[in-house]
């Protein structure tokens, strides 16, 4: 298996803040690796180092076999960068932006125009091609960003939070585009703070938090790693939630996730036998439950278990 991106022990400090504290990343050629983490976990710093925009304080990384520090020009000729930071010129039209990038990449004027027209068509932007990018909707803007990063036929694509701030409809549009790219065999490094995005698009997921990799694997592996199953309890009376929370905590040794709106309490369990223990304990306490079950944990729970923070708190 050849690796398109290989990073080892990346460290980056900004003054007192340690943005990356020894991050390893491996992205096999032709695969999509999702880097998942809360705001400020170091995702963007990692991408900026791999895109040669920042130099690591220590550690090293190669893209397509070229070192990002020693051979930045070669790395740049292999990559396409898109997302919340790499962007387009808002004053120029969609078409002018793409032609400019084509020209910068050494295409002749006719070739740059043809490439721009093709990409605008592919990303359904032909109608808006002549309008200034600043008049585009959020979803169109991201599609233009994506198109801009594809002008040079990059071997490796960085998508840095490609759907952050988009409404669900626009997010679906961008996902559809990314799926098409992946189907065409692109190697993609995707950063996201949305679990479902990583789950939907990535072949494997690297979870980072506070500048460290806290877990990696396929989505189902990660789910299994967090103690296999999750116990759900919904007491009939909301006033019983405190007691049930304590019982569940005693039983599993973990602080349960509490949803005060739905009255649902969840906690990972390692042993399915605990379900019958739970039934008995609720009986003893004279508490009835509307719902009591075991299921595979959601990625949200995985996230909580790995980072100690619920995902909702993170994705503001």
């Amino acid at each position: 298996m050849s690796l398109a991106i290989q990073a080892e022990g990346l460290v980056k400090r900004f003054g007192e803040t340690v943005a990356l504290n020894g991050v390893d990343l491996r992205v096999p050629t032709g695969k999509v690796v999702g880097v998942l983490g809360p705001n400020g976990a170091g995702k963007t710093t990692a991408v900026r180092i791999l895109a040669t925009l920042l130099q690591p304080d220590s550690g090293h990384a190669t893209v397509g076999g070229y070192d990002v520090v020693r051979d930045p020009v070669r790395v740049r000729s292999l990559i396409g960068l898109t997302g919340q930071y790499a962007s387009v010129d808002e004053d120029l039209s969609g078409n002018e932006n793409l032609v400019l990038i084509g020209r910068l990449l050494g295409l002749s004027r006719p070739a740059a125009k043809a490439r721009a027209a093709g990409l605008l068509e592919q990303f359904e932007l032909t109608e808006a091609a002549g309008r200034a990018a600043k008049t585009y909707s959020g979803g169109m803007r991201r599609r233009l960003d994506l198109a801009a990063s594809l002008v040079g036929h990059p071997q490796v694509l960085y998508l840095d939070e490609p759907t952050t701030g988009l409404d669900p409809h626009a997010r679906n549009e961008v996902w559809a585009v990314i799926r098409r790219l992946v189907a065409d065999g692109a190697t993609v490094l995707l950063t996201t703070q949305y679990l479902d995005e990583a789950d939907q698009l990535a072949d494997s997921i690297t979870v980072i938090d506070h500048g460290r990799v806290v877990a990696e694997g396929r989505a189902d592996e990660l789910k299994r790693r967090v103690g296999g199953q999750t116990m759900l309890v919904r007491p009939t009376a909301l006033s019983d939630m405190d007691i049930v929370e304590r019982i569940l905590a005693d039983l599993t040794g973990v602080n349960p996730v509490r949803d005060n709106d739905t009255g649902l309490l969840t906690a990972p369990v390692s042993d399915p036998v605990l379900l019958s223990t739970m039934v008995r304990k609720l009986d003893d306490a004279g508490i009835t439950a509307d719902e009591l079950a075991l299921r595979l944990p959601s990625l949200d729970e995985v996230f909580l278990a790995l980072t100690g923070k619920p995902a909702e708190e993170v994705a503001v």
Binding site: V73, R76, L81, A86, S87, L104, G106
Partner: protein, 266 residues
């Protein structure tokens, strides 16, 4: 085993770098065309100056508005070009804080390309500024007394002066945090520089110290050279002095600007 795919080049050749600069200059010119209002400071403002000074002070300073205009218009061309030269600094300062700059930096293009592009695009601003001022002055009664060749030389001298002075603004632009500060700092510098010269009034009415400075000021020397080239008079002496100043500015501020630029964009 032979390499099936040619490795991408490791460095950007100077020819490629120039091409990148030209492509980004094209971007700058497109942006001027889309937002012509960004030319206001080099079009409307000098026209106001021209009208205001000629009709308000012309009689007092030179005895007649017509005589004053012949003296003022070439000087205003100089002031205007120096004003126009701050825009490269503003444009770069605006650019580096934007996402599009990260895109440029993530592409296999010369690091200097955005800088070269901004400076080259400014030539268009200089030319527009010169044309607008010359046409307005002509409508008001300004007359060129030399030949077309001299006029071309005057325009060339002005453009080259702009290209030399712009490095001060680029340097400031790479040091301060926002475009407004670049403008503020540069205007606080350009106003005393251009008013403390023979552009608006003859130096011999000034107090001694200012008179002394005005005589060697790059603005006075340039204004004298342009006067010579447009309405007649001595050209060589003032032009040499002006060229010496321009070379000095480039020698000092080009390396400073490049260093600040490299530091800013990494």
């Amino acid at each position: 085993m032979t390499a099936a795919v040619l490795a991408p080049p490791r460095h950007i050749s100077p020819a490629k770098a120039a091409q990148h600069g030209f492509s980004l200059a094209w971007r700058g010119i497109l942006k001027i065309r889309k937002n012509p209002e960004q030319l206001i400071d080099v079009t409307i403002q000098p026209i106001l100056f021209l009208v205001l000074f000629v009709y308000l002070f012309g009689g007092a300073v030179a005895g007649s508005t017509g005589a004053y205009l012949q003296n003022l218009a070439p000087g205003l061309l100089v002031q205007n070009t120096i004003m126009a030269s701050l825009s490269a600094g503003v444009a770069l300062n605006t650019d580096v804080s934007k996402g599009v700059f990260d895109r440029f930096r993530s592409m296999p293009i010369a690091r200097s390309a955005p800088l070269v592009g901004a400076v080259l695009a400014d030539i268009v601003r200089y030319l527009v500024a010169i044309a607008v001022l010359l046409i307005t002055a002509t409508i008001m009664g300004f007359r060129i007394h030399t030949d077309p060749g001299s006029v071309l030389v005057a325009v060339a001298v002005l453009v080259v002066a702009g290209l030399c002075f712009c490095w001060i603004a680029v340097f400031v632009g790479m040091l301060v945090s926002n475009p407004g500060s670049v403008q503020g700092i540069m205007i606080a510098f350009i106003f005393p520089l251009t008013f403390g010269s023979n552009v608006f009034v003859p130096s011999n009415t000034m107090p001694g110290w200012l008179h002394a400075w005005s005589d060697i000021s790059p603005v006075s020397l340039l204004a004298d050279a342009i006067r010579g080239l447009l309405v007649g008079g001595e050209v060589g002496g003032p032009l040499l002095g002006a060229l010496a100043w321009m070379a000095g500015v480039v020698l000092v501020f080009f390396p400073l600007a490049m260093r600040a630029y490299r530091r800013r964009v990494g």
